[in-house]
Symmetry: D2
Subunit: 149 residues, 4 copies
């Protein structure tokens, strides 16, 4: 039988970490102020890349990257969380394109999904001397392999 | 008589305000840290509601609302912005459902779009004494009319 | 026998935790944006109180507190920190007054002090029906004892 | 000859701006989360410097500065503020040393002081190739004059 893709997602880099929700993460309704979830997405992606040896410092020093800026982010908020809660943050590389990669995020509390979302990031390098400061470039092969996990 | 709707989106509440990008809004790449855009979306929505007489204080005191929490938010990041930039933040109510409403956001810099996004918000009231602290309820008619602009 | 206090600070509640500095904590100079240190002070104080059984939920439900708002905060920034660093955050209750208590904070990196500071917090309860929403009141004895450690 | 300083503070650069307190600035007690006040101090200082022609971009390009990092910050919180409030933020250069300068901040609401504080900042330049990335250096004369107002 052909394609094996049908059975599920291809393996990709993944990461899991706890997040302790603090007083300062919450708004006047006593629940997490929603932009904080995106800050946690960002921190989870960086933690995943760090754990795979792809720290920002190395991406910059070894691969000449300015970073992996976002071109899109989205989230569905399914339940609320409050200070004192400890969320489980899971993320994984869900797609790898020529110049971009997608990271899927899920934050849960005691097995119940609180937020699901995704980030689409690109590979950015410094632009030419007479051009824009940042240009999007193809992902280096070594990075592509590392993201595959 | 033809409807006038066909030519474009139905009129809805809208708002425009400047945002001065500060040093603290930017990350180590020198551009706005992306969760900040969502904080600005949130602040723009509140400013739009305030300007229409729908302050959180009034929603709570007069309509018994806990607030208008998010069920979904998304954004496309089309260009970067940095400290010293003054963005123009525009938002408008793009759809009104039975229990939810959608706010579209656009932030631009000198006519160039920096970020476009949308928030889907619901109408939340306190839950019953023996139930969850917050339940989603239909939008009151007065609110629905006010959101229409 | 005389008191032994003269030799050093009286014992007080204390706490220690790691803080992973993230990309989003840093500003365009690539170092921690200084207000973040105060957010970590606040989170450390809450973590210390939580660990001693003094969660905000309990302070509210059992003691009728609105919280322990700040009346003063200060910090000396002795070195910089950046994303990828893991700081050690230590705090302890350094003084207990009739209505206030002081928490001293120290964040260090590999034994080197990065930031030292202190918060002075008061005990706040809801005000009378015809008065201000929040009033400062004496610390309950049970809280005073718990803060002593 | 007596100095004229005795009558009051020497003239220094100053700035005033409004701050609209947003929903996201507030914590679960419904009042401003205190680290936000420091973010506003920082933004006020940058706005004051920008208005005097001392933008970060110019400090970097023309004077080789990395920035004006904090060595100390402190604040006294005298009253609370909440979303919907518009604060008046005033700041002024209160002292100029050889390598540092002090900015005093006052945020008020309808004439009532909400927060008073101060920042002590230093002049930082890139370190030598084989040394630390940042070193503190004397304030250039042109900067010193500009800070005098």
């Amino acid at each position: 039988m052909p394609t094996t893709d049908a059975d599920g997602p291809a393996p990709g880099l993944s990461h899991r970490r706890p997040i302790a929700v603090t007083w300062g993460d919450c708004d006047a309704a006593g629940v997490v102020f929603y932009p904080r979830y995106y800050a946690w997405f960002d921190a989870s992606t960086h933690a995943m890349l760090d754990a795979a040896g792809l720290s920002h410092h190395r991406l910059k020093a070894e691969f000449g990257a300015l970073g992996t800026p976002l071109v899109r982010a989205e989230a569905d908020f399914r339940a609320s969380a409050t200070f004192g809660d400890t969320l489980t943050a899971e993320c994984r590389v869900a797609a790898i394109g020529r110049r971009s990669f997608t990271v899927e995020h899920r934050l849960s509390l005691g097995g119940r999904v609180v937020v699901e979302g995704r980030e689409v990031r690109v590979w950015a390098e410094p632009g030419p001397a007479d051009g824009p400061p940042m240009i999007v470039r193809p992902l280096p092969d070594a990075i592509r392999r590392a993201l595959t996990g």
